[in-house]
Symmetry: C2
């Protein structure tokens, strides 16, 4: 959504807005690091689009907060909600700054490269092979978090990114998955995606 579009007020619960802002902002940091780590311009552009979404949510939330405050005590207490929202906004700005290094082709200085190599221990990007046993399975039924401490944070399918995929999203051949986890867990997950490991451990 371009920033100059007029934003119409529509009622959305404060709780939902705040939770989405918080979750999105944290996810964006990992996505921005992935974009820089793998020099992925499309993912970087998606991070910039998400930043616009967080800005919109922030605006809607401020309106809801104003409408919700009925007396000074409530206003004081709602100030804390506003603080958490503004913190999420700052985090999403920071993610956008990092993504912009990739979209603006500023170039990854060797020092920045080294920093992101350390990030590689907790983020991976892998293409799902046609012989992978994960094919056709949903993210939810795989229980990746419980099994190997891994979380799929984004899927690139054809030309589209699915950010923070839902439990019922099924893995397809050719999907590019971005996952977060411990280095041991990510190694196992990568082998499963590439079809090198043929069994899901319990």
């Amino acid at each position: 959504m371009p920033y100059f579009e007029k934003i119409e007020y529509r009622p959305v619960p404060v709780r939902e807005l705040l939770l989405e802002m918080k979750n999105l902002s944290e996810l964006m940091i990992d996505l921005a690091y992935s974009a820089a780590l793998f020099n992925d311009k499309e993912l970087a552009e998606d991070v910039l689009a998400l930043e616009n979404r967080v800005d919109l949510l922030s605006y809607l939330l401020e309106m809801e907060i104003m409408l919700a405050a009925r007396d000074p005590e409530e206003a004081e207490s709602l100030a804390g909600v506003s603080t958490v929202a503004s913190a999420a906004d700052k985090i999403s700005d920071a993610a956008a700054d990092i993504a912009a290094i990739v979209t603006q082709k500023i170039g990854i200085h060797p020092i920045v490269g080294e920093i992101f190599e350390k990030v590689e221990e907790r983020l991976t990007r892998v293409r799902v092979a046609t012989q992978s046993i994960l094919l056709g399975k949903s993210i939810g039924e795989l229980e990746l978090a419980a099994r190997m401490g891994v979380d799929v944070i984004a899927i690139r399918r054809n030309k589209e990114w699915i950010i923070d995929p839902k439990e019922n999203e099924k893995i397809q051949a050719g999907d590019i998955l971005i996952a977060r986890g411990t280095s041991t867990g990510l190694e196992e997950f990568k082998e499963l995606c590439e079809g090198k490991r043929r069994r899901l451990e319990d």
Copy 2:
């Protein structure tokens, strides 16, 4: 360090400064969430102190970058380093904003409370019992990340916080540990700390 203290230039490699800023800023987000989640004023104050440290690192880094740029190409490439540093600075500011909700006793609005309850799935705070099998073991030898996808991000011992403890730091009875991980891993870890689970699984 109070903000009005004169900062003297001392040479520190850009790589080290940037890596510390990045790691510290991410850790601070989790610490700030923990402080809000457990309404922990002392931890919140430590987050505010860490924000001062990140500001200092940021200042030293900008000086190093200026001194390192010898020609326009190098300056252009170093601009990316500066961007990552400023992103880390924004993240640390966001963490300080959240910590300030606790130190300023703004009060946790029910909505903010709910948000942080969701954070509880990946952060825990636990006191080490005298009968825990973890006593006297170092963080490194426990291999918590590989075993159960858990990472100890802070230890409160007596009145002091040890932030991002080193591998050789030994666990003592009465330590309060703040750990990050998957909810299954954290559950196992909590039982180990409380002495309810008597064996480390491989």
